[in-house]
């Protein structure tokens, strides 16, 4: 009888424990949802802790699936090999013309620099990593890299591929980091449209063509115009290629991003640390006793065009 009672008590205790665990997990899920909505850095730290722990198994799974995906893509390419061949020949012709133009511009640039005795700023370094996971959900557009703080990755750094800006580092673990793609809803990047120089904010909308928000005027902006980063805010280096204007309509403009999201395998994280020294009178509430030299003020402005373009960063 006593043994039966003990069993009953044990079973009841187990049932209570299970219910308590479920309630705790449901509360944890709700708390995480609130933290996510509030953009709390705690959640990002939790994500990166889990990513650090899971990186080896994620890489192990990603490799064979990537190989299968590549095989499927190769087969698709093989079926249209003649068409691709024609496209590549045309591309070579175009690139030859561009190469000549680039060589001329390089010579001209060198001459002008020599004439002006221009002092070049230090170059931006980079660290390259492999994409081992993506968000796997239509509610987020992000990618997980196999490089982290141990490799020198810093929070907020720009991520680029061979074509242009991919996104921004939003979470850094020891061995992994997470990049928010330009197409994500939460992505906002200050850009300018060339050649008009109009400034805007590139806003992701979970579509392949992010919108140019806060564009001061549509005049002078046409499809095909180049879009580059401004460097405002000092998060990204200036003049990184972002893409080209795809559509200009009554309700604004959309950009076709340059980065190849379809085959995003390797990315470079730019290690860019702009000067955040506040030494201009405009940056202080109280003016300094001895105003800075105009030349100094220009040199210290965040986002000053002292960082190299994408190709130069890769040459480091």
């Amino acid at each position: 009888m006593a043994a039966r009672e003990r069993e009953d008590i044990g079973a009841e205790f187990g049932r209570l424990l299970r219910r308590g665990l479920i309630v705790a997990l449901v509360l944890l899920a709700l708390a995480l949802l609130v933290l996510w909505r509030a953009d709390s850095p705690r959640l990002e730290r939790l994500r990166m802790s889990l990513a650090d722990w899971a990186t080896p198994s994620v890489e192990m799974t990603a490799d064979p699936i990537g190989a299968l995906s590549d095989m499927a893509a190769d087969f698709r390419d093989f079926t249209r090999v003649h068409e691709r061949n024609r496209e590549l020949r045309a591309e070579i012709q175009r690139l030859r013309a561009w190469r000549e133009t680039a060589q001329q511009l390089e010579q001209e640039n060198a001459q002008l620099r020599a004439l002006n005795n221009l002092r070049l700023g230090s170059r931006t370094g980079f660290v390259a990593g492999e994409v081992i996971a993506d968000s796997g959900s239509p509610f987020a557009q992000s990618a997980l890299l196999n490089i982290g703080a141990d490799d020198g990755v810093i929070d907020g750094a720009a991520a680029v591929d061979g074509e242009g800006l991919v996104g921004r580092v939003v979470g850094v673990g020891r061995r992994a980091s997470r990049v928010l793609l330009l197409t994500d809803f939460n992505s906002r990047v200050p850009v300018k449209v060339l050649p008009s120089g109009r400034r805007a904010i590139l806003s992701g909308e979970n579509s392949d063509s992010p919108r140019l928000s806060f564009l001061d005027a549509l005049a002078g902006v046409a499809p095909g115009d180049q879009v580059v980063t401004t460097g405002d805010g000092g998060v990204f280096p200036p003049d990184l290629p972002v893409g080209r204007v795809a559509v200009v309509g009554e309700y604004g403009a959309r950009v076709q991003v340059a980065a190849d999201y379809e085959r995003l395998e390797f990315v470079r994280i730019l290690l860019y640390r702009p000067s955040t020294r506040i030494d201009t009178p405009g940056g202080l509430i109280a003016p300094r006793e001895s105003p800075a030299e105009p030349g100094d003020a220009e040199g210290a402005a965040p986002g000053a065009p002292d960082a190299p373009l994408l190709g130069q960063a890769g040459a480091d």
Binding site: A29, R37, A51, T61, I65, N206, S207, Y261
Partner: protein
């Protein structure tokens, strides 16, 4: 029903669910195409959980399902916690009606189809309530279709290749009732 399976068998089932669920999460995260307009990846974890909860309910405790859902949400980068809660709700629905699904594969396929559609819709409603932006309905519909197809494929794989059969039904009069 929990009394049908022995304790070691239950724990072995839980270990299998944890391992297969983790594998489903990793496969779902594999980088195949990062374009926003690309065909969305299927929710493989839902397929694994749905198969286990119908066939091995004593080996698929709600706590384990919630932990797997939370791991997927946190690792994926989307709205954390929401996926875990909707997965748990779907699992409890399937557990409640498991006798009907064991008897009729067609009813199970219908439930999987309905849940594949309802899960993203629940996300959409929650995101709207939280004033968070949501992807277009067309993308969600594509995701639901791929999740349904993947759930059927996972069911075939687990039941026929890995031989994960159903636990015995205790009382056939209780079809469609929770135990």
């Amino acid at each position: 029903m929990a009394g049908n399976a022995s304790r070691p068998a239950r724990f072995a089932g839980m270990a299998a669910l944890a391992a297969l669920g983790w594998l489903a999460i990793l496969i779902g995260l594999a980088p195949i195409d990062a374009r926003a307009a690309a065909w969305p990846a299927p929710d493989l974890l839902f397929g694994v959980v749905a198969c286990f909860v119908v066939r091995r309910p004593s080996s698929s405790p709600a706590a384990l399902i919630l932990v797997l859902g939370l791991a997927r949400d946190v690792l994926g980068g989307g709205p954390a916690g929401l996926g875990a809660l909707t997965l748990w709700a779907a699992a409890e629905y399937l557990r409640f009606h498991r006798d009907r699904f064991i008897r009729s594969p067609l009813a199970e396929a219908g439930a999987l189809a309905a849940l594949s559609l309802l899960l993203p819709l629940a996300h959409l409603v929650a995101m709207t309530a939280l004033f968070a932006p949501s992807p277009p309905l067309s993308v969600l519909a594509l995701g639901a279709a791929s999740t349904f197809a993947a759930a059927l494929a996972v069911r075939v794989l687990l039941v026929h290749l890995l031989r994960i059969g159903g636990e015995a039904v205790e009382n056939h009069r209780l079809i469609g009732r929770a135990r």
